[in-house]
């Protein structure tokens, strides 16, 4: 399935939802994965989640009654998109390495 390039935020949100996770947990996981570089602000994360639910890439799970937190999880469709994106990113890195590899001084 070709959906074009994902934004960085979308990619990381999908990647953090291989197991069920709630909003703030997603933010923390993305921050951890990117070593503090990507900090998803609440409006940005909420917008990304809503749009991914609409596209059927992730699923909104039942609200946890005690904490009133809502968890999300990736769908099969979302997983396919993520894998496609990973292939695309690998291609970018491969070509980058190939073309630039010899020229990087260091």
């Amino acid at each position: 399935m070709d959906v074009g390039a994902l934004t960085e935020s979308t990619y990381y949100v999908l990647l953090s939802l291989l197991d069920p996770l709630h909003g703030y947990g997603i933010m923390q996981k993305v921050e951890e994965m990117s070593q503090g570089r990507v900090k998803l602000a609440p409006g940005t994360l909420y917008g990304a989640l809503s749009s991914l639910v609409k596209k059927g890439f992730i699923l909104e799970l039942e609200e946890i009654p005690e904490s009133r937190k809502r968890e999300y999880q990736i769908t099969k469709k979302g997983l396919g998109v993520l894998q496609g994106e990973l292939e695309r990113l690998k291609e970018l890195v491969r070509n980058g390495d190939h073309q630039l590899g010899g020229r990087i001084e260091g």
Partner: protein
């Protein structure tokens, strides 16, 4: 201790409004309630909170859902007025921002842009209505009544808001263009 302040911010002056609310906070006044032309504050420790305003979308249910999502981030809604939410969180070293990447920021600016555009359309419609009223009066060769003048002054005053709204629309347009570049 409570304090009510009366203040006029045109819809397009939301950036100034947000700054003013945060200035009040620095002076130890926490915003708790927003109404028509007035703001209620309670006295407290200065710089306890950071405030941010957001133009809402969706119906009541969706907004409640968003607010409960925000709670996970430690963000609460102090109050809402018309389409705007007055959000706050306990003060941190970092700025209180709601959108952290270009894409979502552009989306949000688009939302505000559309909202202000519909306000501008209403204001322009108001001017057209005013002009027709004058043409009608001229055709019927009636004399000016006090009521007519009163009505036209009201319309004229609201037409002035065009000069507040139009520059902000232009500014948003420019910002979105720069961000897309």
């Amino acid at each position: 201790m409570k304090k009510r302040m009366w203040k006029i911010f045109p819809v397009s002056k939301y950036r100034e409004e947000e700054k003013w609310i945060n200035k009040m906070e620095q002076e130890g006044w926490h915003l708790v309630n927003v109404g028509f032309l007035h703001y209620d504050f309670v006295r407290g420790e200065p710089n306890t909170y950071q405030y941010a305003m957001e133009l809402m979308t969706g119906d009541r249910e969706e907004r409640e859902k968003y607010f409960s999502f925000l709670k996970e981030y430690g963000v609460e809604c102090a109050d809402t007025f018309t389409e705007w939410a007055y959000l706050r969180r306990e003060k941190q070293d970092e700025d209180f921002i709601l959108f952290s990447d270009n894409e979502s920021m552009i989306q949000y600016k688009k939302r505000v842009f559309r909202n202000l555009m519909s306000v501008l359309l209403l204001l322009l419609f108001n001017v057209v209505f005013m002009i027709f009223n004058f043409i009608d009066l001229y055709k019927r060769e009636e004399t000016l009544t006090g009521f007519f003048i009163f009505r036209m002054v009201l319309h004229g005053l609201s037409a002035l808001a065009i000069f507040a709204v139009a520059p902000e629309i232009w500014r948003l347009h420019k910002e979105m263009k720069e961000m897309k570049a």
